[in-house]
Symmetry: C2
Subunit: 586 residues, 2 copies
């Protein structure tokens, strides 16, 4: 990037503002680690190497003795709203962990407020020392078939967003959209080509000929690898593979074997957090944690650092701006004592110290929120009976599909169960771990809602409800009985958004999420406490999942195999169409 | 890139048009070589790997048994006009060598016809099976100080050109422009940033802090490395290094030691031909030759192939289009039996066979040429006395700077010589290898011309003149006497462009270059014969250089150390200003 100030420093016409001395540079271009200084001019790196001549009387000297100089970390694929923190709060956590850039779609506010919501997030982020690259979602409604939403995003919106400074193409361009020949998505892909912006992918389990088809939509990367074989196939087909280590999707251990066992080169391998809760960020870390995980899996530390710096920047096509401690780039620099240990001691963003010793060194204050973003609900409270699954079938037993969550992989597989029909209602059955699950449209009080069946939560009583629920952000609720479900849902409505655990008429735990119904400005520590309380309350109800809300919230995503639930009905991913969970009378 | 046709093949909705079977795929993403088929849909690669299911009754099977499937080669930095061939003729040669893409500025026609000339070249190329990526020159006039030209290129032109399909930023963004703070170039760099297009560099011998300054202009690559040390410094500073193996600049052998001896990773290392004559292309080859040279210097064959495929595509930011045998890319595929030997047996461009066994398999015919491109000269014939070096100094001896060409490096260094002043004229001195050298403006008959002194050609008689002369394309002439120089220059004028060797009143050899005064539509074989005749004639005149015209033509480039000659005078590169070659009386 052009910087006259940095040019002038390099040419000796002015002195550097700051100079790092005594450190070892981790050069991600050459994979070398060597003694080198770094001269800073404004928010840019002016020069690296022997920079003594750039030091003047006013130059601030930063003693990096005993430290490595590492590029600021990049998360090339993260949904910040899934942490339930506002972008200001999110930044306050991840900056302390060494993350200085994220690529994020803001696709959770999009179904609530459309492109204006995305712009709102970007405007809030503009003053933060966290760099944002923004590919808006390829399309909202994101699901096939469509859910009922508060707003949509399509080619006309992309035409606007691609002119923004933060523009980074389109995100989550699912294989399903390509398979379905979605004309809006195809048009938006054409806009990306015209604007030289990346098409970011999403293609779980797509390999072989289908992967060839998918590559021909122009998708540049994929964050949905589930095995080393899938990773190898995608790398061979030219995809940047963003291996995921999310709060609930631990894909790294298997996928990284493409590197550690198959020995493939790493230049198109990166790492991402995708969906993570605040507790994970605070307790384990962000990209620093994932770097440590990669090293623990046998990746060379410098190669692991490359994955979340230059490789991520290449994937995003922003390697001219970030991803390296090199002139022409932003002065996003970490001090790290031991590369294998990878604890980030200090974080500089744009040349300014923003964190050290894991503590934020700048004040990041959320802005005042406009009323229109705090009151995004229009949903009449429900009665328990509204949530029952009704059928024309006669009383008796029925074979039904209950969605089932397998261990350690965030899918919804088919589980065939036998349920009872009584008086035109299909009953759930906690004794065989079959709960009710409902999704309710919450934007325009259309009354659109549906109920299906779910296993894996082992609820014996009560209910869990959430209005953070990618990618529709409607109200999702699972329960052992409809009374508890109605209590939880109606409390979410009262809060104008939130997560609630209820039993009967009682609220056991709740987390208000007033910002667009999905986010909060509470402190990260408060968020961690709230997440703990919600989980504890769910466990009280018999739930055996370590992190039940992180399983529940994704229920409406139709791009995840094999089943999902929208406000408009139960969806089979193989056919991308509504179907009935009832199979036949038995 | 989006291709519905290729998507349909991958999804099994239609059959492939062609399928390569039995070959070994050179996968440049994974650096693997393995048995794989390749399915073609139109001009795209639909799928790789096990593609048997894409074969239908109409599918053409291409038996690649015993062959490697290699991506079509990319020359990321070449001036096609320097071959003196029209782009159609150029394509007809390099396609047989396996080159399917070139990045070329068309910066030699630019000083003659401006952006319209560049568009003319692109329109001619549009129907060729050679893919062109076009960064117009960062600025014309390209020299500092400026020469007198027929046309200019600036930000207003870039605003137009950046909308073209072939747009690839700006080329030859010299360190000198940045050092001088050229406002036009800075504006054009801003346009590149806004259009997400690369800024291609040019920074010979720039290292250390100055290299940091240069990186802060945003230059993405550099093709001017002269040593392993310079290459290492540029790689560390984030540049893509396009190591050059040109007809007269053999930089590869030294620079590649950054890889073969220093062991640096190759992902940002590429190779380029830069300036080459037709004889080199026909006799040695193009990028195939340079790949063989890299292998001969100790580079692993797959790494060498990566350098001229995916690495070059990354440098140009066109890795979504070319540089790999992978779905989503153009079906530019070579068949190569032995990778270490690297002889290209067959060449497919956009899925069509264009060459096999070194022979073109398609008819490529130059178009009719408009009169305005065949009559670009306006220069009154000169008299011998017009070319003398005149001075106010008294008769006697004078210490003078004679430009000197060192062996095997295309620079003009300073040689201090003593010359004689007689009657206000500084005489050349063949006895100590000091020739006259003149540059004459040839577009608007302004009479702007200058003379200086040059060594290294060891001319004992006669003169060599050329109107192909980057980057001004004025007439450049070197001679042992002004009579021969006038003969040669006047013949170039009569031809409306060309290269001529003359002695006294006699023409010893000549090559008409009527197209813009710099190119010809004669066949490559005829061009080779003409180049041979010109060289032989120069040798008759005592010239000891193997390829004197390839030394002579670059004389006006001010971005090459240490001296150059424009129509407006003698230029010192250190100060980028006109100076006198006369030092002092002795």
């Amino acid at each position: 990037m052009y910087s006259q100030r940095a040019i002038d420093v390099g040419l000796g016409r002015r002195k550097a503002d700051k100079v790092f001395t005594g450190g070892k540079l981790v050069n991600v271009f050459t994979a070398e680690v060597y003694d080198a200084g770094v001269a800073i001019a404004g928010d840019r790196i002016a020069a690296i190497g022997d920079v003594g001549e750039t030091i003047g009387d006013e130059t601030e000297i930063i003693d990096a003795s005993g430290m490595h100089l590492v590029p600021g970390l990049i998360d090339p694929h993260v949904h910040t709203e899934v942490t339930k923190m506002s972008i200001t709060r999110f930044a306050s956590v991840v900056l302390t962990r060494g993350t200085t850039s994220v690529c994020t779609a803001f696709d959770q506010i999009a179904p609530v407020k459309g492109i204006d919501g995305i712009r709102y997030m970007l405007d809030e982020a503009a003053d933060l020392p966290l760099r944002i690259f923004n590919p808006p979602p390829s399309k909202i409604p994101y699901t096939i078939p469509e859910g009922t939403l508060g707003a949509s995003v399509g080619p006309d919106d992309h035409r606007i967003a691609m002119k923004w400074d933060e523009a980074n193409g389109i995100a989550e361009t699912t294989f399903d959209f390509i398979r379905a020949g979605d004309s809006d998505v195809i048009e938006s892909i054409g806009l990306c080509e015209a604007h030289k912006l990346p098409v970011h992918g999403h293609a779980p389990f797509v390999t072989g000929l289908a992967l060839g088809a998918y590559a021909n939509c122009g998708a540049r990367d994929d964050h949905e690898c589930f095995s080393a074989e899938e990773t190898i196939d995608k790398l061979r087909n030219g995809f940047f593979c963003l291996l995921r280590e999310a709060t609930m999707a631990f894909n790294l251990a298997d996928c990284i074997k493409a590197v550690t066992e198959a020995g493939l080169p790493t230049r198109r391998v990166s790492l991402c957090s995708d969906d993570t809760d605040t507790s994970t960020l605070v307790r384990l870390g962000h990209m620093d944690h994932i770097v440590r995980r990669a090293i623990a899996e046998g990746v060379d530390p410098v190669a692991a650092i490359q994955m979340v710096t230059i490789n991520a920047a290449d994937a995003l096509r922003v390697d001219d701006q970030v991803g390296a401690v090199a002139p022409g780039r932003y002065a996003d620099i970490l001090l790290v004592e031991d590369l294998a240990d990878f604890q980030v001691s200090a974080v500089y963003s744009g040349g300014e110290l923003v964190a050290s010793g894991g503590e934020l060194q700048v004040a990041l204050t959320p802005p005042e929120r406009p009323a229109e973003l705090l009151r995004t609900f229009s949903l009449t409270p429900v009665e328990p009976d509204d949530l029952l699954f009704r059928t024309d079938m006669p009383d008796g037993r029925v074979e039904a599909i209950s969605m089932f969550i397998p261990p350690e992989i965030p899918l919804r597989l088919r589980r065939d169960v036998e349920l009872t029909i009584e008086g035109g209602v299909v009953l759930n059955d906690p004794s065989i771990d079959v709960s009710y699950v409902s999704v309710l449209e919450r934007y325009n009080d259309t009354g659109s809602r549906s109920t299906a069946f779910m296993s894996g939560f082992s609820l014996t009583d009560g209910a869990l409800a959430t209005s953070l629920s990618p990618d529709d952000e409607n109200v999702v609720c699972i329960g052992a009985n409809t009374e508890s479900m109605a209590t939880a849902i109606n409390r979410v409505i009262e809060l104008n958004g939130g997560q609630v655990v209820a039993r009967g008429d009682d609220i056991l735990a709740e987390l208000p999420l007033p910002l667009a119904g999905i986010m909060s400005d509470i402190s990260p520590a408060e968020m961690v406490a709230a997440e703990d309380q919600l989980i504890a309350a769910a466990h009280e109800l018999g739930c055996g999942l370590a992190n039940p809300f992180m399983w529940l919230i994704f229920l409406p995503i139709t791009a995840i195999p094999q089943y999902s639930l929208l406000d408009r009905g139960f969806v089979e991913q193989a056919t991308l169409s509504f179907c009935s969970p009832l199979v036949r009378s038995v």
